[in-house]
C-alpha cells in the first residue's frame, strides 16, 4: 500500500508538470519572432541553516520512545555496576558500624564522579540559539534565525518604483546568463561576498510586460532568470540597503508575481 500511494503521488505530480510544460510550449510556439525581450539575471543568494530545527511534538515523542527501548535492551555499564557495588559497601558498613577504612574514603566514589561531570557540563556555556540579532530583529544580520534558510533581498529601482527583490541586472552583449548573474551580484553587493552558484542553468524565471509606451518602441517585456547560489562567507557592502529574510518575510515583502515564481524553487524549511 505504501509503495502504491508513493507511485501514485509522484506520477500525479509528474504528469501535472508535464501538462503545464506542454501548455507553456504551445504558448511559446505562438510567440512571434518579432517580439523582443530584455534578458535579465537575478541571484537568489541563500544562507543555509546553521543549526538544526527543534524537534516537533511527534519527533520528540518518538525519540523518547527509542531512547526508552534502547535503555531496556541494554546491559548495565561498568559505571552503573560500580555505583551499585559502592551502595552495597556503604550499607554493610552502616550495619556493622565499623570504623571507616581510610583508603576507601579518600578514593573518589562513583557519585563524586557523576557530580563532577555534571558540574563541568553546567559550567560550559553553549552559544545561544536565539541570538542578539533575533532579539533586536536586525534583518541585515546573518546571525538571525539560525535554523532557517535566509534569502538576500536588495532595494532596487525598477522603472520609477523601488522594490525589495533579489539582486538583478540586465545582460550585456557577449555574456552568458551565469556571467551576468555573477557580475550583477558583485556590482550590487560589493566584492566582499564569497558565494557558490548552483550550476550554469537558471532555476526559475519571471517575465513581465513593459508599459505601453515602451512596448511601442519595440521592447515587449523582460524575462528575469533566477540563479540559485549558496552564501559561503563575507559581507554585503554597508552602503547597500539589504535584508536577509526567511520564507514568511519574503512572502510579505516580495512583489506577488516574483514571489510566485521564486516559491517554486525555494525549499521550505
Amino acid at each position: 500500500m505504501f509503495r502504491q500511494s508513493l507511485r501514485f503521488c509522484t506520477g500525479f505530480s509528474f504528469s501535472k508538470a508535464k501538462a503545464l510544460l506542454q501548455h507553456d510550449a504551445r504558448w511559446l510556439a505562438t510567440e512571434s519572432a518579432n517580439i523582443k525581450w530584455d534578458l535579465m539575471s537575478a541571484v537568489c543568494l541563500e544562507r543555509h541553516p546553521i543549526i538544526s530545527k527543534p524537534l516537533n511534538e511527534l519527533e520528540a515523542k518518538y525519540q523518547a520512545m527509542l531512547n526508552q527501548i534502547e535503555y531496556e535492551n541494554s546491559m548495565k555499564s561498568d559505571h552503573e555496576i560500580r555505583i551499585e557495588l559502592e551502595k552495597q559497601l556503604l550499607q554493610s558498613q552502616n550495619q556493622q558500624n565499623t570504623e571507616i577504612d581510610l583508603d576507601v574514603v579518600i578514593k573518589q566514589t562513583a557519585q563524586d564522579f557523576v557530580d563532577a561531570s555534571e558540574e563541568e557540563v553546567k559550567n560550559f556555556k553553549f552559544a545561544p540559539k536565539i541570538t542578539e540579532a533575533d532579539e533586536k530583529n536586525v534583518k541585515t544580520s546573518l546571525k538571525r534565525k539560525l535554523d532557517k534558510n535566509l534569502v538576500l533581498l536588495v532595494e532596487q529601482n525598477v522603472g520609477n518604483k523601488t522594490y525589495w527583490i533579489p539582486p538583478q541586472g540586465l545582460r550585456s552583449d557577449g555574456e552568458t546568463l551565469r556571467q551576468t548573474a555573477e557580475r550583477v551580484l558583485s556590482n550590487i553587493c560589493g566584492q566582499g561576498l564569497t558565494v557558490q552558484f548552483y550550476g550554469n542553468a537558471p532555476i526559475g524565471v519571471y517575465k513581465y510586460r513593459y508599459p505601453k509606451d515602451i512596448r511601442d518602441q519595440g521592447l515587449y517585456g523582460a524575462k528575469i532568470f533566477y540563479f540559485l547560489a549558496k552564501y559561503i562567507n563575507g559581507n554585503v557592502e554597508e552602503t547597500v540597503k539589504y535584508q536577509w529574510l526567511d520564507k514568511e518575510e519574503l512572502q510579505a515583502i516580495l512583489p506577488q508575481g516574483i514571489h510566485k515564481s521564486m516559491s517554486q524553487f525555494l525549499i521550505a524549511d
Partner: protein, 204 residues
C-alpha cells in the same frame, strides 16, 4: 772556513747574480718547462679470495630457508581473518551476563499499545514528509525546465551555454546544520591523540 766559502754561501742573497742564469719557475711561459706527475689515488687491486663452493652453497640454502620460513608464517596468518570487534560479543559481557542484565518488569499492555500506535503515527508522518520532498523536487525541476524553455525561445546560444556542466561545483563539500551554533572566539583545549588501533600478526 775560507773567505770564498762565505761568499758562495751568501751569493743567493745578492740581487745581481752575474755568474748564474736566473732560474724561473712560472706557468706563464709558453711552453711550460715543467711537468707534474698525475695523482692516481688508488691502490693496486687485491686478489679475490677464493671461497669454497660448499660454503657458498650452504649460505644460499640458509637464505632460501629463511625466506621460506617467512612465507610460511605469512601464509599461516593469511588464513586467520582479522576479528571484527563490533560483530563479536565481548567475553566480559557473556561472563557477567547475570550481573549486567537489567531487572525490568514486563511492559503493561497499555504501554505496548501506545508504542505500536506511536510507531504507526511515525510511519505516516515520515511518508508524508517523503512525499512532500518528492513533490518539492518536482516543482524545482518544473521551474528549471520552464526557465530553460523560456531561454531557448529567446536565444538558442544562451540556452546551450546554460545547459553546460559546471565543473567548478564538482568536488562539493558542505557541512550540515549542527545542534548548537559555534561559540565565537572559542579556544578549544588541547588534547592528546593516542592511536589505539590494534596491530595483528602478519599485518603489513
Amino acid at each position: 772556513m775560507s773567505c770564498s766559502g762565505i761568499l758562495t754561501a751568501f751569493s743567493r742573497l745578492t740581487i745581481y747574480n752575474r755568474s748564474n742564469p736566473i732560474r724561473n719557475i712560472s706557468t706563464n711561459t709558453i711552453p711550460v718547462f715543467f711537468r707534474i706527475t698525475d695523482s692516481l689515488l688508488a691502490e693496486p687491486l687485491k686478489k679475490k679470495k677464493k671461497l669454497d663452493p660448499a660454503i657458498v652453497k650452504q649460505r644460499e640454502e640458509r637464505k632460501k630457508r629463511k625466506l621460506e620460513k617467512l612465507i610460511k608464517r605469512l601464509e599461516k596468518h593469511a588464513k586467520q581473518l582479522k576479528p571484527v570487534d563490533e560483530m563479536e560479543i565481548p567475553l566480559k559481557l557473556i561472563d557477567e551476563r547475570k550481573i549486567r542484565l537489567r531487572q525490568i518488569s514486563p511492559l503493561s499492555p497499555e504501554v505496548i499499545d501506545e508504542r505500536v500506535l506511536l510507531q504507526k503515527e511515525w510511519a505516516k508522518y515520515k511518508l508524508n514528509q517523503n512525499l512532500a520532498n518528492i513533490q518539492k523536487l518536482d516543482y524545482i525541476m518544473y521551474s528549471q525546465q520552464r526557465a530553460l524553455d523560456e531561454l531557448k525561445a529567446v536565444s538558442e546560444d544562451l540556452y546551450n551555454e546554460a545547459i553546460q556542466l559546471d565543473i567548478r561545483m564538482l568536488p562539493h563539500t558542505t557541512t550540515g546544520p549542527v545542534r548548537t551554533p559555534p561559540i565565537e572566539n572559542y579556544d578549544s583545549p588541547d588534547g592528546d591523540y593516542t592511536d589505539i588501533t590494534r596491530k595483528f600478526e602478519g599485518e603489513t
